[in-house]
Every structure is written in structure tokens, then in C-alpha cells.
Subunit: 249 residues, 2 copies
Amino acid sequence: MRYRADVRPGWEIGEISNGGYLLALAGTAMADAVGRPPLTVTGHYLTPVRPGPAEVDIVVVRAGRRFATVRATLVRDGKPMLAVLGTFGVADDNAVRRVDGDPPQITTSSVPAAQPARPDEPPFPSMNERLDVTLRPGDDGFRRNEPPGHAEIVGSFAFADGGPVDELALLLATDAFAPPIFNSGLAVAWVPTIELTVHVRAVPVPGPLRCVFRSRFISGGLLDEDGELWDDSGRLVAQSRQLSLYPRP
Amino acid sequence: MRYRADVRPGWEIGEISNGGYLLALAGTAMADAVGRPPLTVTGHYLTPVRPGPAEVDIVVVRAGRRFATVRATLVRDGKPMLAVLGTFGVADDNAVRRVDGDPPQITTSSVPAAQPARPDEPPFPSMNERLDVTLRPGDDGFRRNEPPGHAEIVGSFAFADGGPVDELALLLATDAFAPPIFNSGLAVAWVPTIELTVHVRAVPVPGPLRCVFRSRFISGGLLDEDGELWDDSGRLVAQSRQLSLYPRP
């Protein structure tokens, strides 16, 4: 099964389309192919992607009663750019619930991510114009060369047009913040994602998400980044983990 | 590319082959196909697998200079049983290193996982005979109906025959302990894995691994399980996360 896809301009970091946006794009085709929302989706990033037409090749590996497992490849000119594997299905809302953790505190003094800290600041990732993302005061330190010293970023996520955040938008939201390692004080340049896995745990209620992203293990030229996304009612709606390259600047 | 595989007896939990064993089996074929060790591997479990002959179908999505991305499907009688996506390559040992975390403490009083607590205890998972796994005192509470109340298990991992734990064995080690939710005090039965992702962060030095597994988010009929595996020198060698079904007993 092949879907036509349009990698739209306006979702780039620099000139390269955002990894979460691409995962949501492939995930949308996968969800359509099996008629179910995503539960767990993994993307492996093969090459930098720029805006333009593309295709999503879909193979349904198994469609069972409750879950369907799907492979997808984002392709341009016959060249694979993103390989995805996901299981789709609906969670059981009446099930046992126990949570060890709390949503991060988001204060009204949080800093809009799309507001330059200084007039001489380099241009913003274009995707920030489409998002309403704020950062915990201090967590925007990397933009002023004042990293707080922890590899952590806390903030809120919404679409600038007020559109709802559904299960597919959660795939985008897990990669819509600056890499937390920017706040570590380590010298870093670009942080390309090798692999990103998202577990969708619930459908968010209306309102901004409260998000926390952390990098704990930097070694072997690689680093992890763990994310928790909570909705406005204080419910965990997604967990993410990515493995990224740590290229020295 | 197709590999013949033998799902060997002796790696079952009950009658079902262990998920980490199957991931290592597929991962071995994938690593062979591209001549590189695993860096990040995700398996989606489609159906329970029993011992017997099988095949591993391999598609190399992209083989670059540094990394190779590979799809694999474990198949029997034309029926897919496990879908895998992985990126293979060698970490850069001279890179920057910063770690926020410590290996768990393993004491000499840790309890062998393969030693029945009571004469009337149900039979052990057969794979325990091939492993030298110990549990932190108290973390074996689930076996005596004395769960400590935390969804956590700490223990050590080695092969019973003293064989080395290489990158592929790490895939097995991430799923070789009892589910930590058994220690939560919640009523649980079987905990089938839907998806398991492993990041291989380093090659272990000789000696037992020190491992910690935790379930933090139980909701929607699903639960997570996060693992950290440290080697005998105190270096993090793997991170794992799985999404499992929470079926009520």
C-alpha cells in the first residue's frame, strides 16, 4: 500500500524537517491503513529530510482483533528516508490505573519558545511559529548562553491555531522542544535523532500539554532523551525515548 | 535475505519462548546481515511463540558508512510472529561521557532466581536454568505472596555456563527478569510484551550485569517497564523500555 505524502514547509529545524513531524506524517498513513490510532511507534531516521513530495509505503504485518502492527517507509525518489514500525489500537479506559510520577509544574512566567531572547539571536526553527510552546524559566538558558547545567527542559505544548492534540499530534509533540542537552553546559552542536519511540498512553483532554524531557546518559557518541507528556487534567498521555548522535561542535 | 532459525527449547516462560530470547535471535541474524553489532533494536510481538524451526526474513533498509538500518520478521509457516526494526553500528568509545545515575547495589545476600522459595512453588521458567540471575532480598517477594509494594526488581544477570554477555546477549538480558509489576501488590496474571526497545550503550566487561527494572505507568490496560543494565565496572551498557498488556487475572 502506498500513500502520497507532502512534507510541508514550515516544520523545519534549520532546513531539515523535524523528526516528530515526520513520525506523525508516517503515523497518519499507518493509522489510516489500519483504521486505528497509534499505541507504540518507533522511527529510525536514515537521512535528513527537506520539504517536498514523498511517499509512505505501508505493509500491514498483522491485523488482529485488538492490535494491528504496521511497517512504514517514508520514501523520496526511491530512497528511504525514515523507517517506522508501530502497533495501533485502542487503550482500555476502564482498566486499573497506578502512576508513579507527577506532571511537571508549568508556571505563568514560562517563556514563549518563539520569542527571541536577544535581537542578535539566530533565526528560530520555523516550526515554532506553528506551535505555542513555552519553557520553564531558566530552561531557555541555552538561548542566552546561560545553560542551567541540567540536561532537562520543562514546558507546555499546544498548536498556535488552537487545534486539538490527538494521538498523532502526540508523536509530533515528543520532538517539538529543543534538545535538553542544550541546557547541560556541554559543548554541543546539532543533535540528529537516530531512533525515536513513542508510547501513546491516553487521548489528551483539551488544553496545553505539560512536558518534561531529560538526557541522562551521554556516552559512546550517543545520548538518550526521555520524555513524559501529561495533559491538562494531569494524566500521562505519552512517553518517549530517543537515541541521538552527540557530535562534538 | 532469509535466515533459518531454531527457536530452541529451554528459553520458555511456561510454554512460550521468552521475548528477549526471540529479540536476540532475530538480532543475531540482523547483525550478521550487516556485519555490525546492534545499537537500537525494537521488537513488536505479534503472537506467542513456541520452540521449533522458524525463519528470519531480513531487509536492509539502508547501509551507510557508520550505521545500517534493518527490518526483520521472525516467521513460521508463513506467519509473522515478531517484527523487528533496528539500527546497527559501533559506538565511539572516545566520546564525551556524562551519566546522571548509578548502578544498583547488588549484595552478596541476593537471592538466586532459580531457587524455589517453597517446595510447593510452581515450576520455574525453564530459562532460569541457563541463567545465573539473583534478585535483591525482598524483590523475590512476589514468589512468596509477599510483594514489597514497589513495581521494581533489582538483580544481577550472567549466563549459568559463564559465557560472555555480548551486545546481542544484552537484548536477552533486558527481558530475563520477572515483570517488576509482580512486586507491586496489584493483582496480575500474565504480562505479554507488545513492544520492547533496547538501546545498546556499551560492550559489557566480563562479570555479572547489575540490573534494575521498574514499571511506573499502569493505565489503559497497558504498562511500561524501564530497564537499566550496568556492567561489573559500573558502566551503563543498555537501556530498555517495553510496553506490555496488563490483563487482570
